[in-house]
C-alpha cells in the first residue's frame, strides 16, 4: 500500500507537531475536523475547545467542522489524494470513522510511541498485575527510543 499523494487526518488524540504522520509525510495536506456529533453528545464546554484549538494552531492543518468521515473524504477529493494517513487511537469512535474512510480510500494508521514495550501479554484485570509486569521496563532508560 504505497501512497504517492496522501492527505493526513489529524484527530484529537494526537495534537502534536511530532505527529507520526506529519513526520512521515512532511508537506502533505493535513486536516482536523471538529466532530459536531461528539461535541454535542459530550456537551463539551468552550474551554476544552479553546485548549484544543490552541494546540491546532501550532500544527500545519486545515481546520473544518461537521461529520468527520465526510469531511476527510471531501478534503481527500479536493486534493486528489490516493490515501489517508493518521495516528492510532483506542477509541471505538476512531475505529468506526476509519472503517468508513476505508470504504473509499486506503488508510494507513501509524502507531504512536508506546509507554513501554511489553514483552508478554498483559493481564489487565487489575492495575497491580499490569504494573508488576511492566515495572522494570518502565523504570529503565534502556528502552530509550527517542524520536
Amino acid at each position: 500500500m504505497s501512497m504517492q499523494n496522501p492527505i493526513i487526518w489529524v484527530h484529537g488524540d494526537c495534537l502534536s507537531p511530532r505527529h507520526p504522520a506529519l513526520a512521515a509525510y512532511p508537506g502533505a495536506p493535513a486536516l482536523f475536523v471538529w466532530d459536531e456529533e461528539l461535541l454535542a453528545a459530550l456537551r463539551v464546554s468552550l474551554k476544552r475547545i479553546v485548549f484544543m484549538y490552541e494546540c491546532l494552531l501550532e500544527l500545519p492543518v486545515t481546520i473544518r467542522r461537521g461529520d468527520v468521515a465526510t469531511e476527510v473524504l471531501t478534503f481527500a477529493d479536493e486534493r486528489g489524494a490516493d490515501g489517508i494517513v493518521t495516528s492510532d487511537s483506542p477509541s471505538p469512535r476512531f475505529r468506526r470513522i476509519r472503517e468508513r474512510l476505508e470504504t473509499a480510500l486506503p488508510v494507513r494508521v501509524m502507531p504512536v510511541e508506546p509507554f513501554v514495550r511489553a514483552r508478554q501479554r498483559l493481564d489487565l484485570a487489575r492495575f497491580s498485575r499490569y504494573w508488576q509486569a511492566i515495572q522494570v521496563e518502565a523504570l529503565s532508560d534502556s528502552s530509550d527510543n527517542a524520536l
Binding site: 474551554k47 479553546v50 490552541e54 481546520i63 467542522r65 479536493e78 509507554f115 489487565l124 518502565a138
Partner: protein, 275 residues
C-alpha cells in the same frame, strides 16, 4: 477555502470570541476559559518544570508538586513515552521517578483497557460492592452539585474549579466522585458525564474507569474519605471557612462512615482509604 475555520488571530481574546460564536452550545454549557494554554510550547515548559522527587513526597496534597500535564498528555501533545523519559532524565536514580512513572502507568493501563472494552467504559464493569444495586443510584447529577451550592465549602469549591478551570487535582476528583456516588447515591455515569464536559484532560478511559474505581464497579471496594483526610491534604483551607464545619457529613471515623453509607455491604467490603 470556504468552510475552513480561521487560523489567524491577533490574540487569545480574539480566538475565544471567535470560538464562542462558532460553538454557541459549548459556550452555553460554560463560557469560562482555562488559564492553561494549549500547544506544544506550553507543554514543553511544563515538562521542564516537572520535579519527580518532590512529586513523590507531596502529590496527595492539593498544594503538592503535581505536573499538571494531563491535558497535554490526553491530547497527545506529549506522549507518555516522552514524559517517562523526561522523568528519568530529571533524577539521578530511577527510583526517585518511580512514583511519577507509576501514575503515568495508570493512564497507559486505562488506555489498554479501553482498547479492549471500547464503549464498555460506560457500563458497570462489575456489580457495586456497596450492598446496593445499580438501580439504587440516581441517574442524574443533582443541581446543587452542578452549580456548587451544596453548602459544603470543599465540594462547592471543587465544582466551581472544575467549571472555571477545567482541572482538578487527583485527590479532589476522588473526594468529589466519592461524595457524588456514595454520599448522594448518584450513578457514577452522571458524574462522569459532568467531568467530561469540563475537564481539559477529559478522557473516556481515565475518567470513566476512575469513576468506576471510586464507585467499586471496577475495584474490590468503594473508595471513601473522611474529614480528617480531606482537611489534612487540603491544608484545611475549606474546613476553616465552611458553613457546615460543625455539621460535616464527612466528620467521622472510616468505620462509622462505612456503616452509615453501606449498611448492607457484605463484610469484606471495608472501604479503601487511598491508593
Amino acid at each position: 477555502m470556504p468552510g475552513d475555520m480561521r487560523r489567524d488571530f491577533s490574540d487569545r481574546e480574539e480566538l475565544i470570541a471567535y470560538l464562542a460564536a462558532e460553538f454557541p452550545a459549548a459556550a452555553a454549557e460554560s463560557d469560562a476559559v482555562s488559564a492553561t494554554i494549549g500547544g506544544r510550547q506550553a507543554a514543553e515548559a511544563r515538562l521542564a518544570a516537572m520535579r519527580p522527587a518532590p512529586y513523590a513526597a507531596t502529590r496527595n496534597f492539593l498544594s503538592g508538586a503535581v505536573t499538571r500535564l494531563s491535558a497535554y498528555i490526553r491530547h497527545g501533545v506529549l506522549s507518555l513515552a516522552e514524559v517517562r523519559r523526561a522523568a528519568l532524565q530529571a533524577v539521578t536514580r530511577p527510583e526517585e521517578a518511580a512514583k511519577l512513572i507509576n501514575e503515568l502507568a495508570w493512564r497507559d493501563y486505562w488506555q489498554r483497557v479501553y482498547a479492549e472494552i471500547g464503549e464498555g467504559v460506560w457500563e458497570n464493569r462489575e456489580a457495586y460492592k456497596t450492598g446496593l444495586s445499580a438501580s439504587d443510584y440516581a441517574p442524574e447529577l443533582p443541581a446543587d452539585i452542578a452549580t456548587g451550592t451544596t453548602g459544603l465549602a470543599c465540594m462547592d469549591a471543587f465544582s466551581h474549579d472544575l467549571i472555571s478551570t477545567g482541572y482538578l487535582h487527583n485527590h479532589a476528583r476522588m473526594w468529589l466522585a466519592a461524595y457524588v456516588v456514595h454520599w448522594r447515591r448518584v450513578a457514577w455515569q452522571a458524574g462522569a458525564r459532568w467531568f467530561l464536559s469540563h475537564l481539559l484532560d477529559g478522557d473516556p478511559a481515565s475518567n470513566n474507569l476512575s469513576w468506576q474505581w471510586v464507585a467499586s464497579t471496577f475495584s474490590h471496594r468503594p473508595y471513601i474519605f473522611n474529614r480528617e483526610n480531606l482537611e489534612r491534604y487540603s491544608d484545611g483551607v475549606y474546613c476553616r471557612e465552611c458553613p457546615l464545619r460543625s455539621n460535616c457529613p464527612f466528620d467521622a471515623s472510616y468505620e462509622t462512615l462505612q456503616a452509615r453509607l453501606f449498611p448492607d455491604a457484605p463484610p469484606p467490603a471495608a472501604p479503601r482509604r487511598r491508593r
